[in-house]
């Protein structure tokens, strides 16, 4: 790790290299600005540009970057002078004072030339001022003009709105006249908003500045910024983590509150580590603390009346009509309205118009949350961050639920693979204990400790699986070369073991050496064509490789081989496998049919064909294909897993349950199978048995660093749809709360409540049913803080439907909560929903 100075509040202090390294989103604009400044220096055209954006949006960063780039341009050396005025030029109350600030900036920039030509004369201005301020002003204007000579003077002016306020009407007119009379000035300025002094025709500088609105960071850009900061700090572990789906989900949670403000990300990144990003709450609390001066600074820029409004909006959640704001702030309606418009231009508030009413709220939810912290109320922000963390993790899970293969975490895959490569019962009694320790710590992402256990296994016996175990811990720790050495040792011991080849492929994959990774995955496939995890990784690697090389994903070489030998089963099989990996299910199906026509007893071909049919959503056909595979090999564990999943799609819960039981019996002990089994029992109304199964699944999988808690939304949605009895709801919800609370994951039920809201919005559901559902939850969860946000969202959703979609109901919610709820209200009834 290196230590590079990244200033949070004064980017002008940073070195150019740092500014460039962490510069995101605005390269095109930066280049354009450099070009127009260059044109201003080299021709009679003079540009006046204004960068507009709220505090913390990166205005000074951009100005500093432009300054460095322009000052290094050789062709401008004799043509351009630069005067970079201080960010906060307090006390500029006249045109003369403004000219003096320019002199100070020039002195700093060009000390020799300044001392030779200007220093003494500028000092004399003070004496002249005593006898005639007008004379001093006139002299100063003439001095500057003479000093610049035939060159162009670039003024870098921050907070132009503030400067213009100080200059007043006559000072602005003097400046404008000076610009017009002598035509040697070009200006790059910043402002928080497009203020009246440049916006309205009644002001001298109307239309003079071409404004550029600095946009907020989008999620990808925020990820880019954090990645660049991690890279600059030499924090490769964090840099890698940010790129993972989990890391990205954590940033999504931050992004939900940060509103794309650059400064917040810079502060957020300051103490960031992989662990802190993963856990999030502690890091967020620290960020909020560090943000206090930023928000205090934002408040300081406002008038007393504006502050009063902001404070009121901070205290109140949701969007508030102007009338209410005016009354609560003891203002006339007109005053409140005018202040709100000003706050909106400055980026503090946003509004929504409903009919004739305008509802205003704070644009930046973090501002409200920070002020709550200042009032010693830390709980709201912790609850909010925790909810968002889970929400975006769950989003990933929702995606995973679409496919059983995606439903397995990286750690689970590794542990399952290690178990499979562990073929014989261990002779040494210490081995099982070490494996258990290893497994426990891998699940907790404590790789250093897991590595120690792996090394002990190597000392005791040195099996291929032991080398692989050590290889994976080193892989997770980013020690790729050592990981590779371990894989190679494992291959020496068991050259025909698909898992060790797969592990080798994973190491190359992480190093982005996709060609070598593909070679290893191909070897792995040759030894175990049944293994869909190998297929999945091969696919990712293949696509990444194509992306890296900019190639299309063609399979021409295989096609040529087939032309030469149309009955080569291995080539057909590889073709089918690759096509399915690439999602080209229709073509893959044709290839599998060909494989099966050549060898109807290939159970893996039948099973993989089932997978392809699932991709085509032909579940009946997929089921038939899995059945065929199982006819050929009744102990084909993965085929049982997939069969169970297909039976779920077909709502054949009894059969699905049997399939899952069989899969578990065959040691396919993935977390999703346990949870799906429990859910199948609940769907079959075997509530007691289902509860026990759920409890068991949570016991197994809810206590790791990446806890798996099952599809809570599915469970809750089914409960709502299947049961029509309030007492039954009460009883079953109580059970669920008890089970989840026992495993300290009760917040996950809150996620499920929110995600199942679309079920309540169906036209087939009565208002009364929705209201009762809400009341039961309210009654049973009042003691749990984890349910505060979910119940608030549920309450709003029910109220919204009872009031026939009255948007004002939604505006009562804080913006960050409303943004979560809104997409759920228009959702179409999900699959498996029954009419109520």
């Amino acid at each position: 790790m290196t230590s590079t100075f990244i200033s949070r509040f004064t980017p002008s202090l940073m070195k150019q290299e740092t500014l460039e390294t962490i510069f995101v989103q605005r390269e095109t604009l930066a280049q354009h600005l450099v070009e127009v400044i260059s044109e201003s220096a080299l021709t009679a055209n003079k540009h006046f540009r204004l960068l507009v954006g709220m505090r913390g949006i990166g205005k000074t960063h951009l100005i500093a970057l432009i300054y460095h780039r322009v000052s290094k341009m050789e062709d401008l050396r004799d043509k351009l002078l630069i005067a970079w005025l201080a960010e906060e030029e307090w006390g500029v109350t006249s045109f003369l004072e403004f000219l003096r600030r320019i002199f100070w900036a020039l002195e700093k920039e060009y000390p020799e030339e300044y001392n030779a030509q200007l220093n003494q004369k500028v000092k004399e201005l003070e004496a002249i001022y005593q006898s005639s301020p007008d004379e001093a002003e006139h002299t100063a204007a003439a001095l500057l003009k003479d000093f610049v000579g035939k060159r162009t003077l670039l003024l870098l002016v921050e907070n132009l709105d503030d400067l213009f306020d100080g200059l007043g009407d006559i000072g602005q007119k003097q400046l404008r006249a000076y610009i017009h009379n002598y035509s040697f000035l070009t200006i790059l300025a910043t402002a928080q908003s497009l203020f009246d002094g440049v916006r309205l025709q009644d002001y001298p500088f109307y239309g003079t500045f071409n404004s550029h609105n600095l946009e907020k960071l989008k999620l990808d850009e925020a990820v880019d910024l954090l990645t660049k900061i991690a890279n600059l700090e030499g924090n490769s572990e964090l840099e890698s983590f940010i790129q993972t789906p989990t890391g990205r989900n954590r940033i999504k949670a931050v992004h939900h509150l940060a509103c794309g403000n650059h400064r917040i990300y810079v502060i957020f990144a300051e103490f960031l580590t992989r662990k802190k990003l993963d856990e999030l709450i502690e890091q967020f609390n620290r960020t909020v603390d560090e943000l206090t001066p930023y928000y205090q600074g934002r408040m300081a820029w406002l008038s007393q009346e504006e502050r009063k409004i902001v404070k009121f909006l901070c205290d109140r959640q949701g969007a508030i009509p102007i009338q209410e704001i005016a009354e609560s702030c003891l203002m006339e309606y007109k005053t409140a309205s005018s202040n709100l418009k000003d706050l909106e231009r400055k980026g503090y508030v946003i509004y929504e118009a409903i009919g004739d009413n305008y509802f205003y709220e704070l644009q930046d939810p973090l501002m409200r949350l920070c002020l709550e912290v200042k009032q010693k109320r830390t709980e709201p922000i912790c609850l909010c961050v925790d909810f968002l963390r889970k929400w975006y993790s769950r989003n990933e899970l929702e995606e995973q639920l679409k496919s059983p293969l995606n439903n397995i975490s990286e750690f689970e895959i590794v542990l399952a693979a290690l178990k499979k490569s562990e073929k014989n019962e261990p002779e040494d009694q210490r081995v099982p204990a070490l494996w258990k320790e290893y497994e426990t710590h891998i699940k907790k992402a404590d790789f250093d400790y897991a590595l120690k256990q792996g090394n002990k296994l190597l000392e005791i016996r040195g099996h291929a699986s032991d080398y692989l175990a050590v290889a994976f811990t080193k892989l997770f720790l980013g020690r790729y070369n050592e990981a590779l050495e371990c894989c190679d040792e494992a291959i020496k011991i068991e050259p025909n073991n698909s898992i060790v080849w797969w592990g080798r492929g994973k190491v190359f994959y992480e190093q982005e050496d996709y060609d070598k990774a593909l070679e290893s995955f191909d070897e792995a496939y040759n030894f175990d064509p049944r293994n869909l995890i190998i297929l999945f990784d091969w696919k990712c690697c293949y696509l990444k490789n194509k992306e890296k090389k900019g190639e299309n994903d063609d399979l021409e070489s295989l096609d040529r081989e087939i032309e030469g030998n149309p009955n080569n089963i291995e080539v057909w099989s590889t073709r089918a496998w690759r096509l399915s990996a690439l999602g080209k299910y229709k073509e893959a199906l044709e290839s599998y049919d060909k494989v099966i026509s050549l060898d109807p007893f290939d159970e893996s071909a039948w099973s993989n064909r089932g997978w392809v049919l699932c991709g085509l959503e032909r579940y009946d056909d997929a089921l038939a294909s899995y059945n065929k595979a199982l006819e050929l090999d009744l102990n084909y564990g993965w085929a049982w897993c997939q069969k169970g999943w297909v039976l779920e799609r077909l709502e054949k819960w009894n059969k699905a349950l049997e399939a899952y039981d069989k899969a578990i019996e065959l040691d396919e002990k993935y977390s999703w199978i346990f949870f799906h089994r429990a859910q199948a029992l609940l769907m079959l109304n075997h509530w007691d048995e289902g509860s026990v199964a759920l409890d068991d699944a949570l016991e197994r999988f809810a206590h790791s660093s990446e806890p798996n808690t099952g599809d809570t939304a599915g469970i809750i949605r089914n409960l709502f749809n299947d049961i029509h009895h309030t007492q039954m709801w009460r009883s079953r919800i109580s059970t669920l709360i008890e089970i989840y609370n026992k495993h300290q994951v009760v917040a996950e039920l809150g996620q499920g409540i929110v995600r199942s809201i679309p079920a309540l919005m169906s036209e087939m559901v009565s208002d009364k049913a929705a209201q009762t559902w809400l009341e039961v939850w309210q009654e049973l969860t009042s003691e749990y803080k984890e349910f505060q946000i979910p119940l608030r969202l549920l309450n709003t959703a029910v109220k919204y439907r009872v009031k026939k979609g009255d948007r004002r109901v939604l505006l009562e919610l804080a913006i960050e909560e409303r943004q979560l709820l809104e997409p759920l209200l228009g959702a179409i009834e999900p699959i498996n929903m029954k009419v109520k």
């Binding site: 055209n45 007008d134 006139h138 000076y178 009379n181 916006r199 071409n210």
Partner: protein, 385 residues
């Protein structure tokens, strides 16, 4: 050429003003000139180009006067400009300096006129112009920009005196030329003085000329050069250029703005993109083109009696597709109880023409001067059907 909305455009890159400038030189052969136009129509560009490319027998002296706060400061500006010119000829403003020595009892040095000269500003100005006339080798033309601002700064009484003095100097020295320009219509400044008791017509010896938008050919050419200069892709450069020019009524400031927006937006530009950007500006909640000004100005410059006439007239013209005669307009006006007076209606129609809202065609019918403003008026006043 790069888009540079609001910035200073190099005189050599000012497009489509050659014929206007030629006409202005012709006028200046005969008399002085009031050059008026809406803000941002390009007045300053025109006079800067005249200053940069003046014929050999003319000496243009440009000065932006918006900063001037008193008659003495104005004289000071004129004296400095005259001395700078005479200095080039190795001469001085002798009469003026003699006068100042007499007034102050000592040699005048420095840039600023001493405060004791304030009561004598007319005399100092007269001497300064006489120094110029006596020593000049070419026809001197004062291009005084933002004159109405100066008049506003110095107060009603002094403003009347300045205007009268300048008129008197033009009569005394017919070889001197003055060009007044300003963002605020000079007629509003003079109307304001009239309300304070002023009865003269201080510019009735001057030719009044408007700076109009560019011709459609020149506006299209400007758009084309800007699109090329900014490397903006478009399926058909000529069609897109024409679309831009037409969408903003051939006004160069807005053409620069549209191209600048297109540059920021990136991608390939079509006619639809242009239309989308223009509509965006017209309905922009941030009011970046300050179109609200056209509504606000009615409140500022039209009194309670005239205001309802102005608003109703513009509302009527905003929703009609063809020009209307005065009688047609007045028939519609009469339907409202607050606009029944024919004479007031006629006065307001004249004012609206001078304020660039409307024009009268040769057949006597009225219409909005700029379709862009008409469209804005229609949108902002809720007149869209």
């Amino acid at each position: 050429m790069r888009a540079n909305p609001g910035g200073q455009v190099a005189p050599s890159e000012v497009i489509g003003r050659d014929r206007l400038i030629e006409r202005l030189w012709d006028i200046l052969e005969r008399q002085s000139l009031v050059l008026s136009a809406e803000r941002r129509m390009g007045k300053t560009c025109v006079i800067k180009k005249m200053e940069a490319e003046a014929p050999a027998d003319k000496l243009p002296i440009y000065h932006d006067l918006e900063k001037v706060r008193s008659p003495l400061e104005f004289v000071e500006v004129v004296l400095q400009d005259v001395e700078e010119y005479l200095g080039g000829l190795k001469r001085t403003a002798k009469r003026t300096r003699d006068l100042l020595r007499q007034l102050g009892g000592a040699e005048f040095r420095g840039f600023k006129l001493p405060s004791f000269a304030a009561p004598h500003w007319k005399n100092v100005l007269t001497q300064t112009i006489e120094d110029l006339v006596e020593n000049k080798e070419r026809t001197v033309i004062f291009f005084w920009d933002e004159v109405p601002y100066m008049l506003g700064n110095i107060g009603d009484e002094a403003a009347m005196e300045v205007l009268d003095t300048l008129r008197s100097l033009r009569q005394m020295h017919p070889e001197i030329r003055m060009v007044f320009t300003g963002s605020i219509g000079l007629h509003h400044a003079i109307d304001s003085l009239r309300q304070a008791g002023y009865a003269n017509a201080p510019t009735n010896d001057m030719y009044i000329e408007d700076v109009s938008p560019l011709s459609s050919t020149d506006a299209t050419e400007l758009a084309r050069q800007l699109l090329e200069g900014e490397n903006i892709s478009t399926p058909d450069l000529q069609i897109t250029s024409a679309e831009i020019a037409q969408a903003v009524d051939n006004i160069p400031f807005y053409i620069h703005h549209i191209v600048s927006q297109l540059k920021s937006r990136g991608g390939v530009v079509s006619a639809a993109t242009v239309s989308e950007i223009v509509n965006g500006f017209l309905t922009d909640p941030l009011n970046r083109w300050d179109m609200v000004h056209y509504r606000r100005r009615i409140d500022t410059y039209y009194n309670d009696e005239k205001r309802p006439y102005a608003l109703d007239l513009l509302d009527i013209l905003a929703i009609t597709n063809q020009p209307l005669s005065f009688n047609e307009l007045f028939d519609s006006l009469k339907s409202q109880p607050t606009t029944q007076d024919r004479e007031i209606a006629l006065t307001v129609i004249t004012l609206l023409q001078r304020d660039y809202y409307i024009i009268q065609e040769t057949n006597g019918k009225f219409l909005f001067r700029y379709p862009l403003i008409k469209r804005y008026w229609e949108l902002s006043r809720g007149l869209t059907v």
